[in-house]
Symmetry: C2
Subunit: 252 residues, 2 copies
Amino acid sequence: MLDDTRLLKQVLDDLAKMAEPFILVHGGGKRATELGRALGVPQKMIKGRRITNTATLDIALMAYAGEINKKLVAGLQARGVNALGLTGVDGNMLKAKIRDITPINYGWVGDPDPKDLNVSLLKCLLNQGVIPVFCAMTHDGCGQMLNTNADTIASCLAIGLADHYAIKLFYLFEKDGVLRNVNDSSSMIENLHLSQIDALIEEGVIQGGMLPKMANAASAIQQGVQEVLIGSAPNFWGAIETKPKTATRVVV
Amino acid sequence: MLDDTRLLKQVLDDLAKMAEPFILVHGGGKRATELGRALGVPQKMIKGRRITNTATLDIALMAYAGEINKKLVAGLQARGVNALGLTGVDGNMLKAKIRDITPINYGWVGDPDPKDLNVSLLKCLLNQGVIPVFCAMTHDGCGQMLNTNADTIASCLAIGLADHYAIKLFYLFEKDGVLRNVNDSSSMIENLHLSQIDALIEEGVIQGGMLPKMANAASAIQQGVQEVLIGSAPNFWGAIETKPKTATRVVV
């Protein structure tokens, strides 16, 4: 989405029309990979996750927290939305634990816990009419920045705020929803029950990048998030007030 | 300072001991120049100021707002300081006007006005115990990020907050203060009166990067900032509570 100037413009226009406060969470993996190539730092992925050595962490900081985050914030500001860019380190918004080096050493990668969300500061910003724009970085509290999956951050934010607000969590990706047959958009699963997930993984319907997204979606709906939807941006924005044209709803 | 790991550690240690709330403003020009070289984007300077085309703006965003800002914030967080990284676009903290293209076209460079500081949001953060860490970027309010001199941002923050707090503005650089003879540290000017500035410029005592720094220092002391000091980091931190071992005090 970040690479498609026209789509991105449309999404920012639609976000600016939203009546409810929102939090935007973004990644930027494709840009990080490009930047790594330009700087001669080859990017290594295992199971769709980036191996983050020190040079790659710097690249992620530059791409996510620098270039992409500030351009999104500037785009929202231009539309009258008082956006403010954040990583987990800013205001200690979200701390994470560095991932175990076994079975795979992912390097500077962190897994956050919704309990470590700085809810009071986040509420204070929301009360000021600020729209937080998070990028996919956290910290360990001891001076180390950590690369963190954007879907996981979104899920942490949703769960951590669910006691304070009625939260809807939208996962945006390139498809209209979870498709039984990836080549047939009419095969979208409208209501995906948690009990179906294991079977869908076994059948290969849920695979690759959908695996962590689905785990995060499941964890959110189990921990007090009101609604979890997975779909594509252009279908979503009606959904803010009512329901999307099409999307997969994850249900307990 | 940012390149000297030991000095930087010491400065962060000292900052963490400060009893008063503070705002840190940083640049990162040397890192931006390195990154430009690595990416094959030559950096062009005129009178100590960077010509900022689109590729150079992206580099500044990556270096200042991404890598350097987040590492400083993480370093302060590790020391128990609830730092939060900001550029002028975040929360619309500081808007700027793009600089006239005559006599020199500096590109995406902006000059901010203290009147455009978002004082209410900044006060709200300070009231929450948050320590803002600004990097040298602003925006034009219409979606365009702008490269902005860090000394100017510091001066804008000091002037914009002077009606609300008793503000001390410290400019840190590699010398102990303004020296009459750059090779003789005993030639430091202890009290630099605004009336002396023109003559010091003519004599060549104030030159190069000191020119904009001095203009910003003068503008701050004329617009309600309580104290403006110019000196080197290691001499400063006693200064927070009392006065620095050595530094140049700019006085009306």
